[in-house]
Symmetry: C2
Subunit: 330 residues, 2 copies
C-alpha cells in the first residue's frame, strides 16, 4: 500500500509511471483542494479534476488540465455577453456577505461567473455541475469525488484532502488574492509576501486521509507551498507523516521549478527556492529523490536519477527511484 500526495501537474505526471512499482488497487492519492474555487455557482476542484480526467483517459496532456478536445462554447459566450453588456472581465470575488452563505464549501473563494476568468470546457463543466449538485443534495466532496471516480473508471483510490473549505490565499504587493487569481489571471506576476491557507486550522482531513497516511507516503514533484502546503496545514497530517516512511521527489532541477510558481512561493515561506528548500518544507521526509545533475546536499538518504518527466517511461524511471528511496528511508 502506498499513498501519494498530489497537486495538479507534477504528481499526476509521475503517476503515469506508478504501475512500474505500485499496483493501482493498492494506491491511494490524496489531493490538494486549496486551489478549489466556486465560480458562477460551480465548485471547481482543479487538482481532483486532473486526476479524474487522467484516470478516465481523457485528460488534455498538453496543458495537464481539462478534457482533450473539449469545446469552450459556454466560456466564450460568457466573454461575449460580458463584453456586449459592458460588464467587467477578470476575476470578480463575490461580496463578503455572499462568500459563506448557503454552501459552507464556498468559504472565501467565491467568484462571479461573469466573463468566467478560468477557461472551463463544456464537458469539463458537466463534471463541476455534477460535483456541485451532489454537494447541494447533501453529499460531501469525498462522496461526490467517489461517484465521479467511479464514473471515470478510476482504479486508484482518490481522496480530496478535506471535505471542508481551505482557500490558498496569496498575500502580494498588489493585495491578497486567491491562488487562482494569482496564477491563472495574473500569471504569477505579483510579488509574493506570504501564503495563507485560510480555513485549514478548522478543516478536518477527509475520511480515509489519516488512515492512508499510515502507509508509505510519496510526495510527488508538486509545488511544496500551494499544492502540498494546504495538506500539511490540516490538523494531524504533519504528525501522521512524522510517524510513517515518507519519500519526497524534488519539484526542482537546481533552482528551476518544473512547473508553476514553486520558486517564488518557496521564498515566501522562507525556504530556499531549490531542492535544498525541500528539507525545510518536508522535515518529516525520510528520503528524497533528486535529479542526478542536482548537487544539493542532504543529511537524509537521497536517490538520484533524471527526474525530468516528459513521458510515462520517464515517470516509470522516477517511480523506480522512489521505490529505492523507500527502502533507504525505512
Amino acid at each position: 500500500m502506498v499513498t501519494f500526495l498530489s497537486g495538479g501537474t507534477g504528481t499526476p505526471k509521475l503517476l503515469d509511471g506508478a504501475a512500474a512499482a505500485f499496483s493501482p488497487e493498492e494506491t491511494t492519492v490524496v489531493v490538494n483542494t486549496g486551489d478549489d474555487i466556486e465560480i458562477g455557482g460551480l465548485l471547481v476542484s482543479p487538482d481532483i479534476d486532473t486526476l479524474l480526467f487522467q484516470g478516465g483517459g481523457i485528460l488534455d496532456r498538453e496543458t495537464w488540465w481539462g478534457i482533450e478536445g473539449d469545446t469552450q462554447r459556454t466560456n466564450s459566450a460568457l466573454s461575449d455577453i460580458a463584453s456586449a453588456a459592458g460588464l467587467p472581465e477578470g476575476p470578480q470575488y463575490l461580496p463578503d456577505d455572499r462568500q459563506t452563505e448557503g454552501r459552507t464549501l464556498a468559504n472565501w473563494r467565491r467568484f462571479s461567473g461573469v466573463a468566467e476568468f478560468m477557461t472551463i470546457g463544456d464537458r469539463d463543466r458537466a463534471v463541476h455541475i455534477t460535483r456541485t449538485s451532489l454537494i447541494d443534495e447533501g453529499k460531501t466532496l469525498s462522496e461526490a469525488t467517489e461517484r465521479l471516480a467511479d464514473a471515470f473508471g478510476l482504479t486508484i483510490d482518490l481522496l480530496p484532502m478535506s471535505d471542508d473549505p481551505v482557500a490558498s490565499l496569496v498575500h502580494t504587493d498588489e493585495g491578497v488574492m486567491h491562488f487562482q487569481e494569482y496564477w491563472v489571471a495574473r500569471r504569477g506576476d505579483p510579488a509574493v509576501d506570504t501564503v495563507e491557507f485560510r480555513g485549514s486550522s478548522k478543516a478536518e482531513p477527509a475520511p480515509g486521509v489519516l488512515e492512508a497516511l499510515e502507509d508509505t507516503v510519496v510526495i510527488g514533484p508538486s509545488n511544496p507551498v500551494t499544492s502540498i502546503g494546504p495538506m500539511l496545514a490540516l490538523p494531524g497530517v504533519a504528525d501522521a507523516l512524522a510517524q510513517t516512511t515518507v519519500v519526497a521527489v524534488s519539484p526542482f532541477l537546481g533552482d528551476d521549478a518544473f512547473s508553476g510558481p514553486a520558486g517564488d512561493l518557496m521564498e515566501a515561506v522562507n525556504a530556499e527556492p531549490s531542492t535544498e528548500g525541500l528539507a525545510t518544507a518536508y522535515p518529516f521526509a525520510d528520503a528524497f529523490v533528486v535529479d542526478d545533475g542536482d548537487d544539493a546536499d542532504f543529511d537524509r538518504p537521497t536517490v538520484r536519477t533524471d527526474i525530468a518527466i516528459d513521458s510515462s517511461e520517464d515517470a516509470a524511471r522516477v517511480i523506480r527511484a522512489i521505490d529505492d528511496a523507500i527502502e533507504h528511508g525505512r
Copy 2:
C-alpha cells in the same frame, strides 16, 4: 405606450408583429417568472430568455426556446456522467433545507444539476451563468435582465414580473411538482388538481411593473393560468389592471389551446378550458381578440380575426386587431 404581459411562447410570437401598431421604444413587456427554476446552481428564466433571444435575433424559432444552432455539450455530458456513475436521471429537487438557503431567489424551486433534466444549450447556459452571477454579486433579477437586454440589443423594455421568488407549483394526482417538472419532464401527463403560485403573496411587482400597467395593457395569447396567473397573483397587479384599458387575446381556437397545457390548467382553476373561460380568467379585460371561427359569446367588446400565428404577417394581423380592440375597449 403599451404594455404586454407575456409568457414564453404565445405572446412572443405575437410580438413579432408588434411594430404593425406599436413602436418598440414605446413598448414594455412584463414577463412571467413563475416558471423560473434554479438548476445546478443556475437561475433559469425560460420566458425572459425567449424574449432576450427573440430580441437579439438568435431565438430557435422551431421550439421558441433556446438559441438557434446551439450545441448541448454540457447537457449531454451531464447525462453521460450520471449514467456512468449510476446517478438518477429526471428532476431531483434539492432537500428542503437547501431550498431557501443562500439565495432567496431559489425559494421552492431548486433542482439538482445531476443529469440536468432540462435541455440547456452551451451558449444558452452562459446567459444563465451571467444572470445568476449578477444576482450573486448583489444585483436584482430586474437589474440582471436589463444588462442582458442591453447585451442582446433589445429595443423594447423587458421587465420580469417580480424580483422575488414565485414558484408555479402544480398539484396533481401524482403529487405536487414544479411547473417545469409537470411540463418539461412529464409532458403535462399527470391529472391537475390545482395550481399554486407559491411566494406570490409576499412577492412585490418588480420596479416599473405597476407603472407600466398604467398604460394600455395587452395580454397576449399566453397560458392564462401558468403564464399570466403568476402576475395576477402579485399584490397590486389585478387592481392596476382594473383601472386601465386591457385587451386580451385568446390562446384558444375553440377548445384547443395553441400551445402548452392551457386547457387542462384552466379546468384546474375552475374556468372553461376555452375562449369562454377568458372572461373568468380576466375579469378586468375591456375587450377581447378571438378567432373569427370562434363562436364564444362575450358581454364585452370583441374583435375577430384569424388568430393563428405562424409568421410575422400573422402576428401583424393580430396586432392590428388588438389595436382595434383597444379603441373598442376604451
